[in-house]
Amino acid sequence: MKHHFADEYSQVNGILQKIDPRFKIIAALLFVILVNLTPLTKAFSLIFYAFILILCVLLTKVPPGRIVRKSLASLPLILIFALFSLFYHRSQPWFSLLILAKAYLSILAMILLISSTSFSYFLKALQKLKIPVILVMIFSFMYRYLFVITDELMSIRMAKDSRTVGGTAWFHTKVLANIIGVVFISSYERSERIYKAMLSRGFDGTIRTLDDFSLKNRDYIFGFSALSIFVLIKILEYSLR
């Protein structure tokens, strides 16, 4: 079955695709932290951050429509947070709007990072940034098998639909519960077979990887530029009162 993979634009010939993923991850995290630490009274700096994002979209050549479409999935969650903040900032309801903007900018930055970075490099970069290896392996397996399990779920659903006509909502709910149970058991059994495949290729519980990242001048230029822009925004934020 056809899936839209998270890193589908990682092979596009964009400028940001060529940057070392470690620098990109740090820059994206810094972006999210700075956006979220922006005082609500200095909302104008969010416009600068939005411009940075637009510039990055141009540099990655990821279609803006694709990023916006992907971001829609997170909107309900962000809206809930924004609604809750309405109770907190009752006197200044537009603060909730700013919280919404901050969260949305953060989500867009993360989508851009993931879309423009090959997932295997992203995981290796996380490991190099000292994220616990076991956590990186969990991400790796999750990404690898998410689509396999989705395919399995869709096949079972098709088999169910081919033998079902009508039926109450309760009936369909019960069948869905059974399907989830079947997929859970088959996933558990699949994990046993994958572990056997790992053992047969010498896995002994220790996760080993090769160090194959090398920094180039463009990575330093990117890092320096990102840092300079962030510092500039902060200076503007404090100088413009």
């Binding site: 899936h3 993979f5 997932f119 295997s120 690898r144 699949r190 077979r193 290729r201 010498g202």
Partner: protein, 236 residues
């Protein structure tokens, strides 16, 4: 000269009480290609899992003169490469490169040696152009080839394949047969594909309900229709 694989009266019972193998004895010489045939549940896959110590059996298995024990498991896994039936189980890393390099890295080889072996293995299965792609972007036939590369990169002495031609379309099946034919390595192939066995194997072993029922030259066993019929491997 002692055989490359020596299995002596191997028995194995699964934790649920199912007796999967019973007193199986088999010798495989270096350079042999042995076809393991038998109906579903005969114990073919279970036997393959014993060869590199995934399942611990009673009595002993010698691989290249080395007894399979917890102490020798590392050396044994360098010698015996297992390719599982479903490539989705064999390819568990985020990219083709990571999957093919997984075994060599676990062997503790140097970075240069790992990279060299990865390229060589991918060249052998004609899949070098997809080196940095994710496995889930590939077709089933391509995944089967990459599965083979994941073990060829470990430079094994024995290749144990579980149903290598299952679910492949005719074109990819023939490509795989040609590929295996050109691999100069000792092979054990558990399969229902008797045509593949006839082309690739010089010896055939028939397993039924965990017992070894026949073992001999492929031409002799495959031409014995009564024998094949008696184990539901051919129609009367």
């Amino acid at each position: 000269m002692s055989p490359l694989i020596e299995i002596k009266e191997l028995s194995y019972t699964y934790p649920d009480g199912n007796l999967a193998l019973e007193n199986v004895s088999l010798d495989v010489e270096e350079g042999d290609c042995v076809g393991l045939i038998g109906p579903n549940g005969a114990g073919k896959s279970t036997l393959l899992l014993h060869l590199n110590g995934i399942l611990p059996g009673q009595n002993h298995i010698l691989i290249d003169g080395l007894e399979v024990t917890p102490d020798t498991i590392r050396q044994v896994r360098e010698k015996v490469a297992l390719v599982f039936q479903d490539p989705e189980h064999q390819l568990f890393m985020p990219s083709v490169y990571d999957d093919v390099a997984f075994g060599p890295i676990n062997m503790g080889w140097s970075k240069d040696k790992v990279n060299w072996q990865v390229d060589l293995a991918l060249q052998e299965v004609d899949m070098l152009p997809v080196k940095f792609r994710s496995s889930h972007h590939l077709s089933f036939g391509e995944k089967k080839r990459i599965s083979l590369a994941t073990v060829l990169s470990m430079k094994p002495k024995i290749l144990a394949l579980d149903e290598p031609s299952s679910n492949l379309d005719p074109k990819h099946r023939w490509e795989l047969i040609d590929l295996l034919k050109n691999l100069n390595i000792t092979k054990l192939i558990a399969t229902h594909d008797l045509e593949l066995v006839g082309i690739l194997c010089n010896k055939v072993a028939i397993l039924n309900r965990g017992r070894l029922k026949a073992f001999g030259p492929a031409a002799e066993i495959l031409s014995n229709k009564d024998l094949l019929v008696s184990y539901d491997l051919a129609k009367q």
